[in-house]
Amino acid sequence: MLELRPILSALWRHKVSALLIALQLGLTLAIVSNALVVISERTERISRPTGVAENEIVTFNFMAIPKDYDMYDAFRQDLDMIRALPGVASATISNHVPLSGSGSASGFYTEPNKETGAMGSNYYTVDEHFVDALGMKLIAGRGFYPEEIMQIDPSSNDRPKVSVVTQKFADDLFPESDGNVLGKSFFLGGDDHPIEIVGIVERNLGPWPNSSIAGRGAFYPAITDRWFYYIVRAEPGQRDEVLKLVEEKLAERDGNRVINANTMEEEKAQYFAGDNTMIKVLSGVIVLLTFIVALGIVGLTVFWITQRQKQIGVRRALGATRTAISRYFLLENLMIAATGIALGTAAAQIFNGFLVREFDQPALPVSVTVFCALGLLAVSLAAALVPALRAANISPAMATRSV
């Protein structure tokens, strides 16, 4: 026997405090649901597949002290040495490291001698071991032959003849081709030198996973001494040993240089540090707001029950069971929470509209609001539960004993 109507009329006589709690709940819902959308978007960003074996890769880079240092000779010797080390699965040399926040990008065209309408993409210069060393998946065509690898001076006009691109690069540059891009050529800006696509890798997010060109990538069979990193993939579980060993051996082979070693995991964490901070701050906000609203509900319920002790005794005397008393306060709480959630759902949409317009934040799906609403409803009921159960212990003799 639900006594909704009388509870509502009694509540109506305390509408200010009830409404204040409802408003607080609504506001919490609006903020929490929007925070949750941002958190889930950021989490998705961080955890989306990168296309590379990010947890098995270590990278090295060095600065040579003498001016007349033969870099290309050093590369050859270093890489030969590294590949022979125990625990090393594969190694390549590249101008940039994926997920690191530092890279090169350029404009790409389907026709020669164009200056406008380019598609932006990351590009890498790598040697023939790159697919294996990065842990990528070649889904069509081939990688590079050793004899294709050129030495490129970035200030010169040297151009590679072939390229391996990511699936996304292919789809975006040749949207009509349905993925059949092997043998097709692309051009750089204002240039009539065709570069033929000989292979496609499934995925590579590139150096800037949060940028609009993330996922597009072109690999060139080339080595340059301007920017270079050794990218070394360790056998599973041996990354940290390999990091130490390679660093040691590089220093051993030639002590005249400063070696900088890093794990790709660390570089990725640094790149996403801002997103991670945002996730932590917003999670903190969610916990704090929920805690405050729960405290408010506990406080109001306890206050009302104390105020209505006599009334509870009278109700018990008139035949209310303990259950009926607890139920009364839970239903009362439910009504307040329902009002708050109705207000909050509307407020959440309005607030989200503002965030989308002004801050380019993701839109709030209904499912997230519903999820948060149900969560807050549970919190609200849990907060009222203990006081409501204690109210049931008020003795019916309260009706005759107190004045």
Binding site: M1, E3, P6, S9, A10, R13, H14, K310, Q311, V314, R315, R316, A317, L318, G319, A320, T321, R322, T323, A324, S395, P396, A397, A399, T400, R401, V403
Partner: protein, 233 residues
């Protein structure tokens, strides 16, 4: 109808134990109107609370309507209160947030009656106490005597076998007290058994029987002259 044998009730606090009732025995027959008097602190309210299942005795036997109520669960006691017993309190004890209609509705909802039946009973009992026109008023908008009449209506709406009243006229002036008394006598004539605690010797004398509680025991049983007064106008 109501039979108490060697009922004991003691309250224990950290330092002292109060024996509110001891060796308390009493029998009340169906249809009786019993008044209870006695000095302050003698155990009158304690007796009424035990009779009305608001408190449990420390010892002794209590038969209500032939049923031993000693071992009943809290839930069963609540249902028994709801079905068989009507309460009238000195302080009226109407629920301030609810209008008269909803106040009388409270025990009827616990009873599980449907909306139509509840409405019928509420309207009838408000009619009986002469306040039908005030159904939508809040208790605070009524005089003390009117509030007590609503409380009586609330007690009567469930058509209880027993009416227990603890100083129902204690907060009323003598005119209103007489009106309430007449209402109770009227109800009694229609068959409801009434036990009423009062400090007013005149009212006590108007009951069929007066019992005196002194120091937690029935001190003296005597019949009082039966004043058969006509019911309220």
């Amino acid at each position: 109808m109501l039979k108490m044998q060697n009922i004991r009730k003691s309250y224990r606090s950290d330092t002292i134990e109060t024996h509110a009732l001891r060796d308390f025995s009493l029998e009340v027959k169906e249809g009786e109107f019993v008044s209870v008097t006695g000095p302050s602190g003698s155990g009158k309210t304690t007796f009424l609370n035990i009779a009305g299942l608001l408190e449990t005795p420390t010892g002794g036997q209590y038969l209500l309507d032939g049923q031993e109520v000693g071992g009943l669960s809290d839930r069963d006691r609540s249902h028994l209160r709801n079905e068989k017993i009507g309460f009238i309190f000195q302080g009226f004890n109407l629920i301030p947030d609810l209008n008269l209609f909803d106040n009388i509705d409270v025990p009827l909802r616990y009873r599980g009656f449907n909306a139509k039946e509840r409405r019928r009973r509420i309207e009838k009992s408000l009619e009986q106490v002469g306040l039908a026109a005030r159904a939508k008023h809040l208790p605070a908008q009524l005089s003390g005597g009117q509030q007590q009449r609503v409380a009586i209506a609330r007690a009567l709406a469930g058509e209880p076998r027993f009416l227990l009243a603890d100083e129902p006229t204690g907060n009323l002036d003598s005119l209103m007290a007489r009106q309430v008394m007449e209402l109770l006598e009227f109800v009694n004539e229609w068959g409801t058994t009434i036990i009423m605690v009062t400090h007013d010797p005149d009212l006590a004398r108007r009951a069929h029987r007066n019992i005196q509680i002194v120091d937690g025991q029935v001190s003296d049983l005597r019949q009082v002259a039966q004043h058969k007064q006509s019911a309220i106008a």
